[in-house]
């Protein structure tokens, strides 16, 4: 028999390291003579899209084209330390360092532009710098950059961003452990085959407070990817050990979901800005995975009235729990 159920999982999660653990980041931005921009940062983009977001932040601040920015990241030979890609901190901490570096270098550009245009209400946009009140007074970003170089001005800036928190009270455990938190709820709908113990996830709805989605489709990608990892965690993933040796050492034996196992995932981006993130943004990486397994297990419980306390809820384990419940009911 097939039974359906719906479950909810909710979470909050501290972004960054918190608990007085060092949490620093940095970025160096240099404006070239032709108006192109070189950004250097030690932050690793291992697929989550942080280089894209940094590029957007710098482009936004300087009013230049996205493709005029060259990103040099995660090269220990040339880039300043930005801390690791972990703790869902990258957009929140390094994103802010990008913003600060861009704003610092913009000050030099701004002063030269003020002098050249004789105006101070300047806007950096569309590869131009112009007066808000009198847009005819303008200079291209390229010309402005060239001016700075001709004058031999310092047109490279490094920003340092430190969000290391104070520790909590060692006696009471009270205090502000993290500088900000992410919040999320996910809903899963499942169909369980009571004869085989096979769980099919029919859909997942995921609502995540990300502060500000600097790149909404990137955020959706993170949410979907996280939810899929959460599905694997709930239903299949298991490290099998024998006398301390891991037995399932390939992805043929350590089962993660395939594209054919992935249901419709409906992402809802909630934007409640945080004061110290870039444009109010905070992290989404790990939060995307945290509520999924609880939502799935609650959905299974809703379908079968069986509370699962051990993972994975795979074919054999779920089948056994269903049989035990049947025996208990007899």
């Amino acid at each position: 028999m097939k039974k359906r159920g719906i479950g909810v999982g909710s979470m909050f999660y501290g972004i960054g390291y918190g608990f007085s653990r060092q949490d620093i980041s940095s970025a160096t931005i240099e404006i070239c003579e032709d108006g192109s921009v070189i950004v250097r940062s030690g932050e690793v983009d291992y697929g989550q899209g942080s280089d894209t977001i940094f590029c957007q932040i710098v482009a936004e601040e300087l009013g230049v084209r996205y493709d005029s920015i060259q990103m040099i990241t995660a090269d220990t030979f040339t880039t300043p330390n930005a801390g690791p890609t972990s703790a869902s901190r990258v957009t929140y901490v390094t994103g802010k360092a990008m913003m600060k570096a861009a704003q610092a270098v913009k000050k030099t550009l701004q002063s030269v532009a003020e002098e050249t245009l004789g105006e101070s209400d300047l806007v950096f946009k569309d590869e131009k710098v112009y007066s808000m009140a009198n847009p005819d007074k303008n200079i291209t970003f390229e010309k402005l950059a060239k001016q700075c170089h001709l004058r031999g001005l310092k047109i490279v800036e490094t920003a340092w961003h430190d969000i290391t928190t104070k520790d909590v009270d060692p006696e009471t455990g009270q205090g502000k452990a993290y500088s900000t938190y992410a919040w999320a709820s996910q809903i899963a709908e499942v169909e369980v085959d009571t004869e085989t113990g096979k769980v099919e996830i029919l859909r997942i709805i995921a609502a995540h407070d990300v502060g500000k989605a600097i790149n909404p489709s990137n955020v959706e990608g993170q949410i979907e990817g996280g939810a899929i990892m959460g599905m694997g965690y709930a239903l299949e993933e298991e490290i099998k050990q024998e006398r301390g040796y891991i037995k399932n050492t390939s992805l043929g034996e350590y089962m993660i979901p395939t594209s054919l196992d992935v249901p419709s995932i409906e992402s809802h981006i909630i934007e409640v800005p945080v004061s110290d993130g870039p444009y109010g943004a905070k992290g989404v990486g790990e939060p995307a995975l945290i509520p999924t397994a609880p939502a799935i297990l609650n959905a299974i419980c809703n379908a079968l009235d069986i509370r699962i306390t051990e993972l994975p809820a795979n074919l054999e384990n779920l089948h056994r729990l269903i049989r035990e419940k049947e025996k208990g009911n007899q």
Binding site: T196, E236, G252, M255, T258, S259, D261, L315, E316
Partner: protein, 287 residues
């Protein structure tokens, strides 16, 4: 890193000549979806690897009067796309669809699936249910024919001499009105080894009596086979829930008798019974 002699045969004669000349076991590459991982993790350490994928006559589906001939290097994708198989032996098409994922189905072949003789094979049990016959050739003895049922000796082992190779899989067409069903239970919906599968062929005569029945559960025994004990219970009878239950019991009993109690028994026995009953009911009542 391993080193071995790799030979690509250009024709069946060339292939048979090579096997005769080497006189020891050659690893045959008929797709490589099992062989290549085995070479990589060094669970297979061959001296000779014989590639038969370039032999045109070993590939493709041919329809004769009352028989279908499938070349051993016909890929699962080619089986799925074969007009002949879709029309005459849809069971094979269904089974082939459950193999791995698209990349595996593009490489993997029916002959490779049979010769590997994995207890968890997807297509091999369907060939058993269709009473498939292997055409086997060698340079010295020429052709001989062996039913697949008799060809499987042990898990991962079929009865082939070192100088022999499968050159065709022969399956009789089914009488009109024959129904076929296939089901696979895996841990996920693609790229999954069968936890269990079920191949079934059934024919009901005009009175609604079961006149032909072939039941082959997969991944429950070391060597896949027809379950004639269960078939006999239903043959010559009209479909009936009580009889079906008795047949399901017989199926489970046979598995228990052969495998004894293993860690998976608690799961597999009740579930294979369920899968058996689903496929049966689907074929009998929903066609």
């Amino acid at each position: 890193m391993q080193s071995y002699e790799f030979y690509t045969a250009e024709s069946v004669e060339d292939c048979l000549g090579y096997l005769f000349e080497k006189k020891e076991v050659c690893q045959v590459i008929a797709g490589g979806t099992d062989l290549i991982p085995g070479l990589r993790n060094e669970s297979i350490r061959p001296t000779f690897v014989l590639n038969i994928l370039e032999i045109e006559s070993m590939r493709g589906v041919i329809e004769n009067d009352d028989e279908i001939r499938i070349g051993p290097t016909t890929t699962f994708t080619e089986m799925i796309e074969s007009e002949i198989l879709n029309r005459t032996l849809p069971l094979l098409v269904e089974a082939a669809k459950y193999v791995g994922g698209p990349q595996i189905r593009n490489r993997g072949t029916i002959g490779g699936n049979i010769a590997t003789a994995s207890p968890a094979a997807d297509v091999l049990p369907a060939v058993l249910a269709l009473d498939g016959v292997l055409e086997i050739q060698s340079k010295q003895a020429g052709s001989r024919f062996l039913t697949l049922a008799k060809a499987i000796e042990a898990p991962y082992k079929i009865r082939l001499q070192p100088d022999e190779i499968i050159t065709g899989i022969l399956i009789n067409k089914l009488p009109p009105g024959t129904r076929c069903g296939y089901e696979k239970l895996g841990r996920r919906n693609a790229m999954a080894r069968a936890r269990m599968n079920m191949s079934m062929v059934i024919h009901l005569d005009e009175k609604g009596t079961i006149s032909d029945l072939r039941i082959v559960p997969g991944a429950v025994l070391p060597v896949a086979q027809r379950f004639q004990e269960a078939e006999k219970i239903l043959l010559g009878k009209k479909p009936d829930p009580q009889l079906l239950e008795t047949a399901a019991e017989a199926l489970a009993e046979k598995i228990l008798k052969i495998t004894g109690i293993r860690w998976s028994t608690e799961y597999k026995l009740p579930v294979i019974k369920s899968i058996f009953k689903w496929v049966f009911n689907r074929l009998v009542f929903k066609n």
